[in-house]
Amino acid sequence: MKYYSYFPGCSLSEGTAVAYGISTRAISSVLDMELIELEDWNCCGSTPIAQPMSFSRFALQLVIWLWLKRQGLI
């Protein structure tokens, strides 16, 4: 069993791409992988925030990265 840290993102967890999230989790157990979801993750900013608000994008992504570190996932 291999462990992977997992950041689903807004669309994969509860949005329009939820089906991809479901299949990713379903296939992971078949492939002998365990996905460990980052707890209490925030939005990565995606395209809308990257464009008019360049600084906020880095801020949000940095928060996710620090969160991963704190939870010992990287």
């Binding site: 949005g15 329009t16 395209t47 809308p48 925030i49 464009q51 360049s54 906020s56 801020a59 928060v63």
Partner: protein
């Protein structure tokens, strides 16, 4: 003579304007790369949305380089960009075209010059609002807010929203759209970080 002087002064004014805009574009990440463009048109040929753009990606670079600030910032080109990066990966000269499009969006928002027909800036604003209130994007709430504010700004015909109703119902019935927003525990911190980032250089 007088006319000639006026013409020279006019041209000087344009030249200053031009350098200023070019410098601004060069100074953003990836903006410098438009220097290497050879106008081959691979970007325009690869762009899936080029047909919807006022100026195709190749033309955007040509216009930026010739200092047509007004034409560029008023066009819809950068707002139609889907950020698929096909132009960037295919560019033989490694021009960061998608980054340029993002930079132009930032510049046009910062200057308060945006294309009147385009509702993308409104979309971006409600997206950011959704992150600020939930920490994650709540698509149903975001889209309702988007349509409301786009209608109020006269960017979308109210009747056009009715066409979206079947789509919304389908998404809801397939469980692809959450009705209630999921608020993260660290929302207060996210809010503070967003405000701080905005103060440090984000434009809204």
């Amino acid at each position: 003579m007088n006319l000639l002087m006026r013409k020279i002064r006019h041209n000087q004014g344009l030249a200053v304007d031009r350098d200023d805009f070019l410098e601004e574009v060069y100074s953003v990440p990836g903006g410098e790369s438009i220097r290497w463009c050879v106008q081959c048109g691979t970007c325009s040929g690869s762009c899936p949305n080029a047909a919807q753009m006022d100026y195709s990606p190749r033309k955007v670079i040509a216009l930026v380089r010739s200092g047509k600030r007004y034409d560029i910032l008023n066009s819809n080109s950068m707002w139609v960009c889907a950020s698929c990066y096909l132009c960037t990966v295919r560019c033989p000269k490694d021009v960061k075209i998608t980054e340029l499009m993002h930079a132009l969006e930032r510049l046009s928002v910062a200057r308060g010059v945006t294309n009147g027909r385009i509702s993308t800036p409104t979309m971006y604003r409600v997206f950011v609002d959704s992150i600020k209130s939930n920490g994650r994007v709540h698509e149903l709430g975001m889209m309702m807010k988007f349509y409301l504010s786009a209608i109020l700004r006269g960017k979308i015909n109210p009747l056009a929203t009715i066409k979206m109703l079947p789509v919304a119902l389908k998404l809801l019935s397939h469980g692809r759209m959450a009705i209630r927003p999921k608020r993260i525990k660290g929302i207060e911190q996210v809010k503070i970080i967003m405000e701080r980032a905005k103060a440090l250089g984000g434009v809204e």
